[in-house]
């Protein structure tokens, strides 16, 4: 409806007492977008080394009811997953993301574990994905849509397990955006921006009934993170 569009833009300009922005004014706005300046970053998420970032992330995640386990390398993942499933009396099967990192896990060490690669069906109780990165400031996972990690894995299963290399933990959300842009050749605009970027901070919950917090409203009841500390893992 371009009539509506023109009228709305015209009304905005009329209210602001000017015409469309051109020349220097427009150039300034272009520059601001291109530079995407970073504002105030809370001190608690700045200047931390890898150890500090991992610790902060873990502390923050635990505070919001995420469960966290540190493993030394991908070789420890099969046992960690098997133990997790056993702890909650879950069948030894799960939907796993096609992510290349999942291929590198020696699943053969736990032959009873059944992996189904790809996006989950509505009846898959457990999902396993790989985190793109994580934000230590708030204990938040950053998950990108795409063939490697179907977004539905983040939401449909009751239990969601995420493999997160420690090298992928950053301080603030701004650093996560920087990572995303870098991974897309410098800019994430248009088709290079993932369709869905999920920032996940704990399991699903609601306080809508008498302010009493309950887990598992519509998304996963439990959120589990395996932090893989192997220094060589990017």
């Amino acid at each position: 409806m371009s009539a509506a569009r023109d009228e709305i833009l015209g009304k905005i300009r009329g209210s602001l007492g000017r015409g469309p922005l051109t020349g220097d004014s427009a150039a300034k706005l272009e520059a601001r977008l291109a530079n995407h300046p970073v504002g105030i970053i809370p001190r608690r998420s700045e200047g931390l080394d890898r150890k500090g970032l991992t610790k902060l992330f873990e502390d923050q995640a635990i505070e919001i009811a995420t469960t966290v386990e540190r493993v030394s390398s991908l070789a420890d993942v099969p046992k960690a997953v098997a133990d997790y499933l056993a702890r909650f009396n879950l069948p030894a099967e799960f939907a796993a993301a096609p992510d290349p990192l999942v291929d590198k896990v020696p699943w053969g060490e736990r032959p009873l574990l059944k992996l189904k690669r790809g996006k989950p069906s509505p009846t898959d109780a457990v999902g396993l994905s790989v985190g793109f990165c994580a934000i230590a400031e708030t204990g938040t996972l950053m998950m990108l849509s795409g063939p490697d990690n179907p977004s539905t894995l983040n939401f449909l299963p009751d239990d969601h397990i995420v493999i997160l290399p420690a090298s992928r933990v950053v301080g603030p959300m701004e650093a996560a955006w920087r990572r995303l842009r870098e991974s897309r050749g410098g800019t994430a605009v248009g088709p290079t921006m993932p369709r869905t970027v999920n920032f996940i901070t704990g399991p699903s919950r609601t306080g809508d009934i008498e302010q009493k917090l309950e887990m598992g409203a519509h998304g996963p009841r439990r959120q589990h993170i395996l932090i893989v500390e192997d220094e060589s893992l990017a």
Binding site: M1, A4, I8, L9, K11, I12, R13, S15, L16, G17, L21, L29, L33, H36, P37, V38, G39, I40, P42, R43, I64, P98, G118, K119, P122, T138, G139, P147, P150, S151, T152, F155, E174, W177, A188, V189, G190, P191, M193, P194, R195, T196, V197, N198, F199, T201, G202, R205, T206, G207, D208, I209, E210, Q211, E214, G216, A217, H218, G219, P220
Partner: protein, 475 residues
């Protein structure tokens, strides 16, 4: 949504007598403010972040047209579509048109106040497209056919007993003897009932907390994950959002997100903060095949450049109503429309006209608590006062009130007359009230004395006594 804002006094009266509501409000008053304090107590930068938030949004509003065009360009570049709606009617028709083209029978919905504003649900239902609210609070009030009473916690006015009653009434396929004592079982039941609806929906409609110009992205913030199932699973994702939701960059969104959850619920981040850009890419295994953003004006463009422009900085956190003693006494429905509490007292007259919402800016003591907790530093009492000024100019205030004030001003500008009446009033009322010290009943002051005693004056005015004393000293 139809407004009953004109019936504010009656609504408030009912609310004050509603035991369920009062019990629910007691819980709200005990919860939200403390949680917010705990959250911001852990963040020393919070005050600076408020100032930064104000600057970002003011910058956007000054350049809103440019940013909207850039947003549109980037949505299109990502394969999405932007539609512009001047009025609620246009927005409804646009959304219906999209639903029809997609052959939609059911539509899941994330929580969006804009959809309430344009009366979307009733309209779609009448046109044969079934909308299903998925936010738990919204789901409950949809079943009860009630409007939301809070912009973050729409069912906050209900007790768990009332929720149980509704579930038993509507979820008839489940065993009647099931135990629904605990909130946990109510949540679990809603999860089961709605999961099926999520999977079958043809279209998902969400709002947007932010629209990012840099990337053509819409942002939603939920704790439940319902917004994500709404926007991921169906054939199409429709975003309905008002113009002022724009922020320039991903970093600006990060800055504002630091304010949002802390101010709303006392969380550092809501559980799911989701950035959606266009439809699924060719290589994506999941995601909606189409992405549409319906941009709604409905009065926002007129607020720009006016004394109400600051209202457009609102990020819909709800902190103002969580802390407002008036909202805390009467709840959200009394405000009669989509937006309750202090932000509603300004936004409702802004969108539906002050003539239709006369009481809202008046039902405030100007205590200033709202402004002090607003993460975007919106001067809410000041704007309420501006609406009172408009009412005064348009003679919308009750004649008795106008007369009383005119009389007061008349006296205040004529000191000898003022002091004369003062001296009389002090003596007469002082004498009449001397025995008890207060009045149990005072003619013309029934509004006060029906529930409170009125303290009596001490008997002489201060200025009278002072000048007598000064005269004696000089003598």
């Amino acid at each position: 949504m139809e407004s009953t804002a004109s019936a504010f006094k009656d609504n408030a009266h009912d609310a004050l007598g509603n035991k369920h509501l009062q019990s629910a409000l007691d819980k709200m008053r005990a919860g939200f403010p403390q949680r917010r304090l705990d959250a911001i107590g852990k963040l020393p930068e919070f005050e600076d972040l408020r100032e930064q938030g104000r600057e970002i949004k003011n910058h956007v509003l000054e350049n809103l047209d440019w940013y909207l065009e850039r947003f549109e360009r980037n949505v299109t570049a990502a394969g999405g579509h932007v539609h512009w709606a001047r009025t609620p009617e246009e927005a409804r028709q646009l959304i219906l048109g999209l639903c029809r083209k997609l052959g939609a029978r059911t539509v899941t919905k994330g929580k969006t106040m804009i959809a309430e504003e344009i009366g979307l649900n009733d309209f779609l239902e009448a046109e044969g497209v079934i909308p299903i609210e998925t936010d738990l609070g919204e789901y409950i009030i949809q079943l009860r056919r009630e409007p939301p009473s809070h912009i973050i916690a729409p069912a906050i006015h209900l007790t768990k007993g009332q929720v149980e009653e509704t579930f038993r009434e509507i979820h008839t396929s489940l065993p009647a003897d099931r135990n629904l004592e605990e909130p946990r079982s109510l949540v679990a039941e809603a999860r089961t009932m709605l999961r099926d609806k999520f999977l079958k929906a043809d279209v998902g409609i969400t709002g947007a907390n932010f629209l990012i110009a840099e990337t053509g992205t819409s942002v939603i913030v939920t704790n439940e994950g319902n917004g994500d199932l709404t926007q991921l699973l169906p054939k199409a994702h429709i975003v309905v959002a008002s113009l002022e939701k724009i922020v320039p960059t991903l970093e600006d969104a990060a800055a504002l997100l630091r304010l949002l959850a802390r101010s709303a619920t006392g969380q550092d981040m809501s559980v799911y903060t989701t950035f959606s850009t266009g439809p699924r890419r060719a290589e994506d295994p999941d995601g909606p095949g189409e992405y549409h953003v319906v941009l709604l004006d409905n009065g926002r463009s007129a607020l720009l450049g006016s004394e109400f422009q600051d209202m457009l900085r609102c990020i819909r956190c709800g902190a103002c109503m969580n802390h407002c003693p008036v909202y805390g006494a009467i709840g959200g429905h009394a405000y009669g429309w989509v937006y309750p509490g202090p932000m509603g007292a300004v936004l409702t007259p802004s969108l539906i006209g002050i003539e239709n919402a006369k009481h809202l800016p008046n039902a405030s003591t100007f205590c200033g608590k709202c402004e002090s907790v607003c993460p975007m530093k919106i001067p809410l009492p000041k704007m309420m006062r501006h609406y009172r000024e408009r009412e005064w100019q348009k003679r919308l205030s009750p004649p008795v009130a106008r007369l009383g004030l005119k009389l007061w001003a008349f006296l205040a500008l004529r000191p000898p007359l003022y002091h004369f009446f003062y001296a009389i009033a002090a003596q007469v009322l002082g004498l009449l009230g001397k025995r008890q010290g207060s009045f149990y009943n005072l003619p013309l002051a029934g509004a006060w004395t029906s529930t409170r005693d009125m303290p009596a004056p001490q008997g002489r005015s201060f200025q009278e006594l002072w000048h007598q004393r000064e005269k004696k000293k000089a003598a």
